[in-house]
Symmetry: D2
Subunit: 309 residues, 4 copies
């Protein structure tokens, strides 16, 4: 199966886009951030980057959407580059078994979030990068990282979404203050949360996102941003924790490391084979893109791509 | 790295065995089952099976030990063969974020265990296989499966361990009765728990266990016991849930699907490359073999084997 | 207000019975025990005993019903008489903040139930009394205690209810086995749970129950079964824990120590003034008699009886 | 016992003060607020007010201490006066079964705190009073209430303690933000928490506190601040929830409604008989004054005062 030609893959993508266009059970866009709630669930786009340097696409793959929690993958890469394994003093590496915004395990674990992909953990990661810097510097670094990774300068933060997010950040602020109470926050909560809201408001297209993920797939054309050993570890975290309390289900159905965002995007990695981005704004009960996950499952089945054999 | 010769691999195994022999911080054998508590933490063995049919070993790789929860992988394979996806009506596929014997999430989830590898889930799996049969039939089927998988008739249940386990099964009985209260048990708790205690008391050597795992690695010499699609799914569950609340850590450090048992064994799968078994009875705080996990990490680093790139 | 004459009190009881007869929102009888589920929610009875020795009644106050968890008050009195403060090694004295049959806090507290009035705690109490005896002896002692307390020999166990209860005791068995796993059970779970199911199946009338509660109210005519200091402590436990996770609400609305049962009965104590029993089988969401609690609230308001001023 | 003369009571108080002076196991002052941590655990004072108008005292009953959470009783009284039963839309009336500052049940209950005496609940109460006002107005009203209740104008807020509290309010801020996320906060978290920190920093002597509690005991000399029905309800809440997850224990040992503060004070109410205040800064594991609780137990035993008979 590994010898699927780009043409054969394009045909698979076209099939997926066609199938998804028929679907009426699309889930609902995230409602807790007004700006996201206004996006129509009718959108669907998919893009993938191959070892040969090709980028294939289908559907609305060049429409921008809010990457939201997918940004956590990139801030994690930056934080590991900056702090190395010291980061793990502040955040764990275990699936949480709870919702993305749960505060329960934070109390149980004395202010140490379970992993860097639940909200509390991602806030701790952002807080770690922010130490000694200004929010604008951190956001500039994130954009620089994304632009280099994607080979595309046209990646920006949507200020309106960031502001909407900031205005509805009570729960994330609660998580930050709770960590502060346990000595696990280095900056004022308002500063860290402000930065976090902006990082989530980065907007990208499927094409840009798939290209930005190439370094995680180890594709030859990808810029070398992170060592192979660290790439494997980021992929491991995506696989075990990338879809909140549906991570096990995604691993079972799709078999690839992936990270979702409440904007409806998913980035998935087929190591050595492809970096894949999909977008459909309707979410399931766990806050993951319903059609996005199905498209990934369809693609994995059609290509035989799986890290599990 | 994929072209490591058997001789090079043997040298790695020898290095690992030598390094582990030096270690004094070995953890403690499981104490809650007296028969297991009597085993010395000094043991260490490792074996691996390769695509070419070779089996390499080092240390005490031909000494029998109690496979305990590693049996859950094989009963899961049997249950999926028997019930197919209907099994997932009775057990989930998510990491639990809690200890192997926790009853908390069972209450939260109305008697549906989080996954088939925590105790509650494995009891549900055994209960599913047992329906309409006698315990002896189920245990005979498990032994038949293991013998075919390993290509070795000399695999048995240690009756003394089974009895010791049965005499200390209060917590597992509580899990079973709790599921019964939610209509998620088909047999009398005593029957299911009796079967479960015997399944955990299967004893195997590292060589036997590595050979029994070949079908999960998709090695050419392996008997075709399960379809490739299902193999991938079992591997996915091992990766996300195979080490209880240290599953994320094992994925991060080792990068291979694995399943541990409180007897000190670990089975790990490098798809297409190797089936690996290791044994050292001393456990860490999460109930996984301390040196076993370190040996797996050492091996993964030395070989470059990882599902994550 | 304290000088209310028996005639005035009778008039209050009559008003309450008349008001309750009009009510259509009666809640549903307990459904998890078939025998209890068959009782009509139309029943209502109330009885109270006064310092002068009078027993007043209204409605179906001489119809027998299953006292269920109200039995926990009497087994607690027996256990404290037998073990004294040693009992508190095995069960706590704090409100649980959780449902009557929750197992969660049991895991958190290492097998020590929060208080003697949630199921786990009452099972521990029964187990403590049972040690060294046979179930029949314990049940005989309980009946003897109730008969002396009520001054009425005609108090029995409903064998059909006991059997129904035993057949649906999975969850209580889970609690018992869980305690056994933590060394907090002295008898085989089946023996303790069998005894517990029979104790819950005692049937009494409102008149009998109000009379049986006189010793807790310190009424002059009551047999001296328990020291005044211990009576106060039992009343304290009833007030803080007697209605599961609605105990605070009952204290707020009624202001008297009370204990409810899923058979629809409630026993309440106005120290020095009255022992009160009410019965209506329809339950609210917390498993307490809906009309029973309202009748108690009505009575407390009309009489001014409250332990709080 | 009810006829104990003031002289007999004075003798009991003297005995208690003498006994407490001998004690070396005094617990540790609250450490999480630096200003409180500096207070010596050697202090002990007690005062009680009687129906005849007398105030008896022993030990350091005229030394000021930080009343901390005891302030919650008075803000509750103010809030009930302002909002009536509408307050119960925003906060529950059940014991929480968890620590005073736990956030877990808040997640479980969708942002509704379990009761007005855990931190989250008290913050909701303060937030309710604050709506439409400025912090200074609310604090002025609280001081006015306390001064009228105690008949003493010399009651103030310790600004240094308030500032120390404000600087360490991360956890309380987390609680407030979490409630805000569920729509259960009317003011900016910083405003509500600032007010809350000042309310906790009121300082009073045992004599002042005992006098301020007279209206809850229904003493003839007390100003009529709250209706008798509401007084009973506040007492009920103190009894079931006043000592966090040691409320059941206090009810069992002392048998009187009471409210503790981490400054080491306890206010207890013997309805119709006395209002009692005690102070000793050393705390037990639940955050309640160790010697304070023992002194209350001693007093209850010596006087026979108990709401339970």
């Amino acid at each position: 199966m590994e010898s699927l030609s780009p043409a054969a893959l394009q045909s698979i993508l076209d099939d997926i886009a066609a199938a998804m266009a028929q679907r009426s059970d699309r889930g609902q866009p995230a409602s807790y951030i007004p700006e996201l709630g206004r996006v129509s669930p009718q959108h669907f786009g998919i893009a993938l980057c191959l070892p040969g340097g090709q980028t294939l696409l289908a559907g609305e793959a060049t429409t921008r959407f809010s990457i939201q929690s997918i940004s956590k993958v990139f801030t994690l890469a930056i934080a590991l580059g900056r702090l190395g394994d010291d980061l793990w003093q502040r955040v764990g590496r275990e699936p949480s078994g709870a919702a993305f915004n749960s505060i329960v395990s934070l109390e149980h674990d004395q202010g140490i979030p379970r992993n860097p992909f639940i909200n509390a953990g991602a806030i701790a990661v952002t807080d770690a990068i922010l130490e000694g810097l200004q929010p604008r510097d951190v956001l500039a670094e994130l954009l620089r990282f994304l632009r280099v990774a994607a080979g595309d300068e046209d990646i920006h933060i949507d200020k309106t979404v960031a502001a909407s997010e900031r205005a509805h950040a009570h729960r994330n602020t609660a998580l930050a203050e709770f960590m502060a109470a346990h000595g696990n926050l280095r900056n004022p909560a308002a500063l860290t949360i402000g930065t976090y809201c902006h990082q989530c408001a980065v907007e990208m297209t499927c094409v840009q996102l798939a290209r930005a993920g190439r370094f995680l797939a180890g594709l030859p054309a990808a810029p070398r941003l992170v060592s192979p050993a660290r790439v494997r570890r980021i992929n491991a975290l995506m696989l075990t924790c990338g879809h909140y309390d549906a991570s096990g289900d995604f691993a079972y159905r799709v078999g690839l490391p992936g990270k979702s965002g409440v904007g409806g995007g998913i980035l998935a990695i087929a190591p050595g084979r492809a970096s894949i981005a999909v977008w459909s704004p309707g979410l399931d009960a766990q806050g993951n893109s319903r059609l996005g996950a199905e498209a990934m499952e369809h693609l994995a089945r059609a290509t035989g791509w799986s890290v599990f054999g």
